[in-house]
Symmetry: C2
Subunit: 363 residues, 2 copies
Amino acid sequence: MTQIYNFSAGPAVLPKEVLQQAADDMLDWHGSGMSVMEMSHRGPEFISIYHDAVRDLRQLLAIPANYRILFLQGGGLGENAIIPMNLLGRAAVQPATIDFVHTGSWSGKSIKEAARYANVNVAASSEPGHFTSVPPQQYWKLTRDAAYLHICTNETIDGVEYNFVPELPGGTPIVADMSSHILSRTVDVSKYGVIFAGAQKNIGPAGLTVVIVREDLLGHALDICPSAFNWKIVDEHESMFNTPPTYSIYIAGLVFAHLLRQGGVAAMEKRNIEKARLLYAALDVDDFYQNRVAPDCRSRMNVPFYLRDETLNEKFLAGAKARGLLQLKGHKSVGGMRASIYNAMPIEGVQALVDYLNEFAGR
Amino acid sequence: MTQIYNFSAGPAVLPKEVLQQAADDMLDWHGSGMSVMEMSHRGPEFISIYHDAVRDLRQLLAIPANYRILFLQGGGLGENAIIPMNLLGRAAVQPATIDFVHTGSWSGKSIKEAARYANVNVAASSEPGHFTSVPPQQYWKLTRDAAYLHICTNETIDGVEYNFVPELPGGTPIVADMSSHILSRTVDVSKYGVIFAGAQKNIGPAGLTVVIVREDLLGHALDICPSAFNWKIVDEHESMFNTPPTYSIYIAGLVFAHLLRQGGVAAMEKRNIEKARLLYAALDVDDFYQNRVAPDCRSRMNVPFYLRDETLNEKFLAGAKARGLLQLKGHKSVGGMRASIYNAMPIEGVQALVDYLNEFAGR
């Protein structure tokens, strides 16, 4: 088998070591005679898997004791509705207003969904510049008494990443969609009210959503919030009010343990900075390729780029595939190419892509 | 390793052949160089897995062409809210009323959840008899112009299974929670408006919900219904509006293909009848054990039973475990024991349990 490097934006590459462990455990986890998929979520075997996963994630992100870790279902899109249904009950002003910063496709989807439940105020938008930057906070028009501010700290499709944490007056909670860069860099969790992430980038399989929520934000759900997605109920049952996605939690736990062995998030961040530097440098040599994002807002995880001559797109992708460089086609909404270089992408994979970029450009 | 038989109510035993295939495919699915967990849901590899799963499920249940198959997240509890949010927009009378038949723990949960969104009418209840039967339809007090009737055709905790399909006047749709017996017996899908099932019993891993819905019931969602759970939107995107739980769908697909190779649902039903006959016969020998469900309503999948002398419970469970008979403890809400004998439980497992029942009773 040729060495493959998988640049999918998600579901995405996982550490080989994790997959090997999953294969080894598949028919018999730790001598239990059962696959993890076959275990009751209420049994001691799965409870231990759950506790280890929560403990390791808490350590990886240095999550303070007054934050709860929830394992939910429904992905980022589901959470876009679940968040307002959980938080709007505490709004001081009714009808409530939610502030958003519109920096690309994912924050756009969040705005659309939240509008079912509250007024939405787009405090700032980089749409006029085609989502190639994050508007500096000095230009945001925030609402007094907003229920919360929702931001997407890494736009998977547009390749735009925050390089600052907003500072809000009056204690308005910040809700951050970190789906596509969680665990890729250190984060001061205490600056946020809620952090959420679909698992299928840096955590594990699709079908698991991780929510990290400050305790005082629990217990304010609207009556229309389904019990299975009510954070307070889910928290009280240690994510087992509903049967949780047990196998996805198990894989996430293997990834967390793997990251700890690799030196944790700080070590990953160092590698990710180097990987991103390498790739952007190759794109920036001349104008054969273009990444259009402002340099200080370029994502370390998702690197969209365009060939100057787009008639070469198919040839580029075919050549990449022949070299084992997979899933480089850009999202259909923006076209072009995209290389997602998550934690599990080794630097050798980025180097192989860089070599191909240079070769294809005739350098 | 001792031969293990896993009687968990869910997540539950899966076919060994399916687990072996999953282990073999884990690092490299069909020479793609990728694990199924690492595949983009929009790539040709996963799309083929999805199409095969849908095709095989349609064949297994003989699902008519005017029914859609959706893969969702949130489990049975999530669906209890998602169903009214999807169906109440078509109610002829407002405020809408939903009819329920209360036959145990799961229909009870459905009633509680639906009350967030509509009036609920409990048309019949077997609660006075401690949920040991299904009230015959002649005693149901149905609402004229109900939005729909919701039933749970197999109560996982109470071990009660419908042996008839309700016939409703006026075309009121029947919504059936078949979570714990789907694919265990043939079913006339055309009699139902909606059939739904959490996957973690007869289908695959927890974290996948299968919804089978008649086309004319799509497109009636309330405004508060999250897009990710709006059946019409999910259907229009072939279950990929949101990133679906791809790995769970893959495992479900392996189970579907396995069932077809075993002769399909009719063959499973024949085996399940025999397995249930064997187990209930052993429980009925004398009053050492008791199953309290009316004989014509006894579930073929979930067999709760009590020891006459409940001080022997721990000894019974320890002896069972020593013989590789796992997860026989009853649900905490009802106590006692429960043996779940889903499709993937071989008759040898049931025979091993019967042998132990006889031995423990000193027969």
